[in-house]
Every structure is written in C-alpha cells, then in structure tokens.
C-alpha cells in the first residue's frame, strides 16, 4: 500500500515535470535552444499567484489566469529582447549563456522584490482527497487535479499542433526554418507563439507545483526546471508525447528513490539517469535521429 501511494505521488510529480518539459521541448524543437530561464518562469508564476491570493485577496482561479497571462507576456518579452537578436549568431554558446543570464536575472529580481524568506503558498486546489482501501491510500486533491490537468493540456496541445494552421506552422518551422519562410510562414511570430505557449504552461505548472509543495522561494523553479529538461531529453526532445512519458517516468523514479534509497541522493540519481540516457540513446525514447551535414 505504501508503494502504491508513493507511485501515485510519483505520477503527480511527473505530471508537473511533463507540463514544464513541454515548454522546453517545444522551444528546443523550434528555436534549437535550451531555454534555461524556463524554470524561473514557473517561479514567477508562483509569486504572481501568491501575491494575487495573499495580498490582493483574489480567488484561486482568476489568480491563475492572471499568472498565465503575465507569464505569457514575460516569455514573449524575454524572447524578443534576449534571444531573438542572437538567433543568427555565429555560436550556439551565445544564446545559451544569455539564457543562463536571464535565469539569473529573474531569480535575483525575485530575491530583491520578495526577499529570500520562504513564502507559505496556499494551495489553489479545492478538490477533496480520495480515500481508497479504507483510508490506507489517500490521493490528495492536488494529485487528482495535477494529473487531470496534465492530460488535458497534452491532448489540447496535440490537437492544436496537428489540427490548426498555427500548429502546422510550428511543425514546419521546427522542420526547416528557411523552407517554412519561403512558404509564407511568419517565422518570428511562430517562434514567439511557441515561447508564449511554453511560458503560459509554466505558469500553470507553477500553480500546481506550489500547491503540491507549498513553499515558494526565488529558487523554487530552477531545480524542477532542470529536472523537467531531463524529462524532455529522456522522452526525446521535440516530441510532445515524449515529454509526457519522460516526465512521468522521471517523477516516479524520483519519488521512489527518495522513499527507498536516500532522500539526499535522489537528485543525483535523477541526473545519473539523464547521463545514462544521453549516452545510450541521445535522442531519447521518442526522438528522431538527425545526422549533421556539412
């Protein structure tokens, strides 16, 4: 029974990773860059909800909507200011270092505004917990909402990419930027759209993450962000279902290793898995192998 409840918690954490991983995987697929600041957008989303609920006294749902809108705008702004000028730079290092700079900037801005003290986050979930097997296994409302949200987002995103014009444009740009442009696709707008979707999802992930683990600091987003990238790589970067599979497997591994091996070494184990995956199958579970040509 103990195992089952760990397993369920793992799926819940994994669903959060999956939502974050979507942002990474879409941006990587289209802009071919690792958006290091993605994890910190989660943190920004968390703080916006915190301020909206605790200071402005808004209900959870409108606060989440505000957070999604603001994070979307922030994502677009970051892309326009920091990443777009470097899109055709000689070295791919340049944009990566800039992304690290943006991540650093967001963390320290939050540190300056909200201080380093941990904020107690009130859960935005009001769904009651489910008791199974005479109360031996308790599934909290957060877990239920997280998992359902994750699957809804996944489904919606798959439909969006495959059925709408904008989604098809995203696919085309990720396939070949130059050819897409020749076909009359607005590449810049498509990339902005990708960042917008990713950042909006990050805000939702922030709400879920802070509800499940109700503490909020300026560094809340960085570790889950990096782990979600691990999940994205694990599932195959650029693939939406891959992000779901990778995220959930990673969440389960993390919770189980925390429970049965060592709570201090669970991060090391997660990173160990990343290394093994990259060495054995660098393209991930569902990724495609692309040969580099001269």
């Amino acid at each position: 029974m103990q195992f089952l409840s760990y397993f369920i918690n793992g799926i819940s954490l994994g669903s959060i990773y999956a939502i974050i991983a979507l942002g990474y995987t879409m941006v990587y697929g289209i802009a071919k860059m690792l958006n290091f600041a993605h994890g910190d957008i989660i943190m920004v989303g968390g703080y916006i909800i915190y301020v909206a609920v605790a200071t402005l006294g808004l209900a959870p749902l409108p606060s989440i909507v505000i957070a999604v809108v603001l994070c979307t705008l922030l994502g677009i702004l970051v892309e326009k200011v920091a990443y777009k000028p470097l899109r055709n730079a000689g070295s791919s290092l340049a944009v990566l270092i800039t992304a690290i700079g943006v991540s650093y900037l967001l963390q320290n801005a939050a540190l300056l505004i909200f201080g380093s003290s941990t904020k107690a986050f009130t859960s935005v979930v009001t769904v009651p917990a489910i008791h199974l097997f005479d109360g031996q296994v308790v599934i909290s409302g957060e877990v239920v909402v997280t998992v359902i949200t994750c699957f809804i987002i996944m489904g919606a995103l798959v439909l969006f990419i495959n059925k709408t014009k904008a989604g098809q444009a995203m696919l085309a740009v990720s396939e070949d930027k130059g050819a897409a442009q020749l076909m009359g696709i607005n590449v810049n707008a498509t990339i902005s759209l990708t960042f917008a979707i990713g950042s909006g999802l990050a805000a939702i992930a922030g709400a879920l993450l802070c509800s499940a683990y109700p503490t909020l600091t300026p560094y809340t987003g960085s570790m889950p962000g990096i782990k979600a990238f691990v999940a994205a790589v694990f599932g195959g970067i650029g693939s939406v279902p891959g992000a779901l599979i990778g995220g959930i497997i990673l969440g389960i591994i993390e919770i189980l290793s925390k429970a049965y091996i060592s709570s201090k070494l669970s991060d090391a184990i997660v990173f160990g898995i990343l290394i093994v995956v990259l060495l054995v199958k660098p393209t991930g579970i569902l990724g495609k192998n692309i040969q580099e040509k001269v």
């Binding site: 690792l34 470097l86 990566l96 300056l112 991060d267 990173f271 990259l278 060495l279």
Partner: protein, 359 residues
C-alpha cells in the same frame, strides 16, 4: 634585450600577462604586509587566486575548446575534498606544511583530472546544449555525493559510508574525518597568498603554452569547425579529452587552494553548486571568451568589487545578470556586430583620430 625583441607577438603578450599578475600581486602583498589593507580584503587574497585559476580553467573549456561546461564547480569540489581529506589525514604524519601541501596538491589535481577524464570520455561525444546540461548534472552529482559522504579512521584503516557516522562502525578510538553535510573540519591552513600567486602563474603558463602549441591549434580547429578539423585528420576525441581533462585538473588546483584556506570545508550549493559554476561563467564572459588575460582580471575584479561596493550588495547579483546578458548581446548579436563595424569605420575615417583606433 635582443631576445626580447625577437620574441613572437603571442609570447610577448603572455609575458605581459605574467608581469601584470606579478605587479598586482606585489602591490597587494605589500599593502597587506604593511597593514594598509582591511582584514576583509586580506581574507580575500587567497580566494581571489582560487577564482582566478577557476576562471582561466573554465575559459580553456569554453573559449579554447568551445564547449560550455556548467559543472566546473564540481571539479573544484573534487580537488578541495580530496586534498583537504589528505591534509587532515596526514596532519600529524607529515608535520612539514609545504611537503604536505605539495602532496595534497598533486593528489587533488590528479583526482580532478581523473574525474574530468572519466566524465569527458562519454560526455564529449555530446554537443552544445546537451553537453552543458550533462556537465551541470555531473557537477550536481559530485556536490550531492560530497554532502552525504562520511569517512572515518580507526586502527583498522579507513571506513566509508553514505549514510551517517554510526554506520561507519568505527572503534572507540576512531575519528570521523568527513562528516557528511558538515564536511571536513580542521584542515591545516597550508595555503597563503604567495602560494596562490605561484599557482595562478603556473596555471597561466600551462594554459598559454597549451594554446600556442600544436595541440592547442588542433583544439581550436575543433572549436572553429568540427567537421573540417576531422577531415584534415585531427583526432577529435583525443584533443577534446586533453583540453577537458586539463581544464578539470586546473579547477582542482583552485579547489586545493580554496580548501586549505578554510577551517571548515562543506559541500553546499553556494560554493560547489550550480550557482558557483554560473558565477565562474560570468567571469569568463566578462573577461572575454577565449581571452585568458581577461579572465584573470575579470575574476579578480568581480571577487573584490562587491566588498568595495558594499552598499550595492543587494543589487550585485542583479547587476551581474544584466551585465551578462548585455555583454553577450553586444558581442555576439549579428546586428550589434554590424553596428560596431559601422562605428569603427566612421572612427577610422576621421583623419585626426586614426592613431587612436584600438584593435
């Protein structure tokens, strides 16, 4: 004098770097000895040397090899822990400080190089972003393992554990040397500013000579175009590994220096974590990617500056972040480069300022 004139341009530049380091170190040393330096600043002298070495080491990896590593604090951690462990173990066996420190240095650097080699072997097959994230992963693993490592000693020898002091199973006279999250306490303070400066110079000489050697040119060829380098017969794996291992070994030097300046060595995310790796990257980017002399002075300046600008302390990290982004945009964005070319061209056209043009 004749020999000096005959020297190539690069070696002249290198000697200028060494001379500059010596002059700055001399001034700092004299100021410290005559009591013209605040205790805070004189406490920073050895850490400055450690960070300078670290910045040069990372620049070798990022600027010369062209692979972004954000786990270099991990290599520093290896060097620090191995050498501090050795020094504490041998504190009574080898009473002479300099012999003990030299052995600790060799051991610490050796281990860092070994770890760098072992990590580099599989990891250097990856490229760009993947390599960056894997180095980050390794850095975090090293930091986490160091924080849960317990080592004790008794009459039977050494005992290792990843659990707690109890599970070491020590005898009554046993002594715990590494106490997990509490780290190593009571490392002999064997390093000082002179040793630090010597190690900085050694690091600079190693890197500069590597860069100007046949191997160094091969490494830079790989950075500039991997496929072209491979097609002219350069052994990619070999040269990448050489550069990466040397870079790791040099980070180990920084770790040894750092550990022997502290009474208590702990593995926290502040000193060996991801944030430290980013901090070093900031030094490298500000000093100029690929510019060794730049790294030296950027690191020294950025370690000392916050102490001088105490009133800015809250904003320091924010300012660093903004500077990092702005410098990257200014140096790498095609539009910014075009703008700079335009300004340069205008500068050249004005007749009376032709001599002022800075290369």
């Amino acid at each position: 004098m004749k020999k000096l004139l005959k020297m190539s341009k690069t070696s002249k530049q290198n000697y200028i770097t060494y001379a500059m380091v010596l002059v700055v170190a001399l001034i700092a040393g004299v100021m410290d000895a005559t009591g013209n330096m605040s205790s805070l600043m004189s406490g920073l002298l050895v850490p400055v040397c450690a960070y300078v070495i670290l910045a040069v080491a990372l620049n070798l990896c990022v600027g010369i090899l062209g692979e972004l590593s954000i786990g270099h604090a991990g290599f520093m951690c290896v060097g620090a822990f191995v050498s501090a462990f050795f020094s504490k173990l041998m504190a009574s066996t080898i009473p002479v400080a300099w012999i003990r420190f030299t052995l600790a240095l060799i051991l610490g650097v050796g281990f860092s190089a070994l770890i760098g080699f072992l990590i580099g072997l599989p990891v250097l097959r990856l490229k760009g972003d993947y390599l960056a994230i894997v180095t980050l992963a390794f850095g975090e693993i090293i930091k986490n393992v160091a924080a849960v490592l317990y080592v004790g000693r008794d009459s039977k020898g050494l005992h290792f554990s990843l659990q707690d002091t109890m599970s070491l199973g020590l005898e009554k006279d046993g002594e715990v040397i590494i106490k997990g999250a509490q780290g190593i306490t009571g490392t002999p303070n064997d390093s000082n500013f002179v040793i630090g400066v010597i190690l900085v110079l050694v690091t600079l000489i190693i890197v500069n000579n590597l860069v100007n050697s046949r191997d160094g040119r091969a490494i830079m060829a790989i950075r500039d175009n991997l496929i072209a380098a491979e097609s002219v017969g350069i052994n990619i794996t070999k040269y990448k590994l050489i550069a990466f291992s040397i870079s790791a070994a040099l980070s180990g030097i920084a770790g040894v220096l750092y550990a022997h300046n502290l009474n208590t060595l702990m593995s926290t995310s502040k000193n060996f974590g991801y944030n430290m790796s980013i901090m070093i990257l900031v030094y490298v980017v500000l000093g100029g990617i690929g510019n060794i002399r730049g790294s030296v002075f950027a690191a020294a300046l950025l370690v000392i500056l916050p102490e001088l600008l105490r009133f800015l302390n809250d904003y320091r990290m924010l300012i660093y972040a903004v500077i990092l982004i702005v410098v990257m945009l200014f140096n790498w964005a095609p539009s910014a480069l075009a703008f700079r070319e335009k300004v340069k061209a205008k500068w050249k056209k004005t007749p009376d300022s032709t001599k002022k043009e800075v290369a």
